[in-house]
Amino acid sequence: MTTRFDDGPEFPPDDPLAVILRPPADHLGPPPGRYEAIRRAATRRRLLRAAVAGVGLSCAVAALIALPLHLTSPESPATPSVPLAPPATSGPTAPATPTPSPDRRTLAPTDPRPTAEPGTPTPSTGGRTGRRPPEDASTPTKRATRPQEPSATPARPPATEPTTRQTATLPTPQRATQR
């Protein structure tokens, strides 16, 4: 594309563009008080821009201060939230975990079970074992009734004898009675 630069006369005499692009210069005088109004508006706008810039700068400074603090903090607050969750879901049915809480010590005298608890950390498991001991105690007694029979012959080796005697003694009388 070849371009013709504007070194010579721009328009031929009969060019309609001369009418459009070379209009007579018009002047429109300002209304009274226009200069003062423009100056006031410019001052307001300058102050507004300065205020916006100040707010933006303060926000940036606050972000620069808060960001390192936020990056260093998240490790520590994550830990306390974790142990608080399980007791809320498990509820009162699991008495084992929160043994060191003082409320249960206050509740302890009311319940008959906690009387066995005062033993420091173990009572939580001891509570369960506290229930079981009677069962365990009962079962050994049942078992004890049977081994008590062989206990009459204590001097013999204990490992094989009760089993063999239990199996041997119990069926035989039943079979003997049934038969």
Binding site: D7, P16, L17, D26, L28, P30
Partner: protein, 163 residues
């Protein structure tokens, strides 16, 4: 310091405002709109008075952008009214003062519009247009030539259309 700045602003306003407002008046419909655009251009100039190196060019480019926005707003309103009412009722509104200049300049692309506005309507020499737009003088001359060719073709087409 402040007094000298105020005096310079006052002298610039006295020398430039009537010409700028008259220039705007040729591109818009009424005196009030021309005053609004010229006042807004001066307000933007003085709101950043210390950072503007070429006040005259800044004012004219700002006014050209405001005139372009004004045209776009008028076009949107005209289309909205055209959709809402009959075309016959709208047609007188579009036929206003100096429509040929406005439509011809409006039909130019953005790159060619500013040199045309500054050189032919603001009477700025090519060297100042070059400094203001950041283009070389040869580029400005080429842009002016391309703009004139476009305007000439547009004018010929509109004349053929009317005949």
């Amino acid at each position: 310091m402040k007094r000298s700045r105020d005096r310079a602003a006052s002298e610039l306003f006295a020398a430039l405002y009537p010409r700028l407002a008259g220039w705007c008046r040729r591109l818009v419909d009424d005196d009030e709109t021309a005053h609004e655009i010229a006042s807004e251009a001066f307000t933007r100039l003085w709101a950043r008075w210390t950072s503007v190196e070429e006040p005259r060019g800044f004012v004219y480019v700002t006014a050209a952008n405001l005139v372009r926005d004004h045209w776009r707003k008028l076009e949107r309103e005209r289309k909205a009214v055209h959709r809402a009412t009959a075309e016959a009722a709208v047609r007188p509104h579009t036929e206003q003062a100096d429509p040929s200049v406005r439509l011809l300049v409006q039909s130019l692309p953005e790159r060619l519009r500013v040199p045309i506005l500054l050189h032919y309507y603001a009477d700025m020499p090519i060297r100042e247009v070059s400094e203001l737009t950041g283009r070389r003088e040869g580029t400005v001359k080429a842009d002016l030539h391309a703009a004139r060719e476009l305007l000439r073709a547009q004018l010929r087409r509109s004349l053929d259309h009317t005949l």
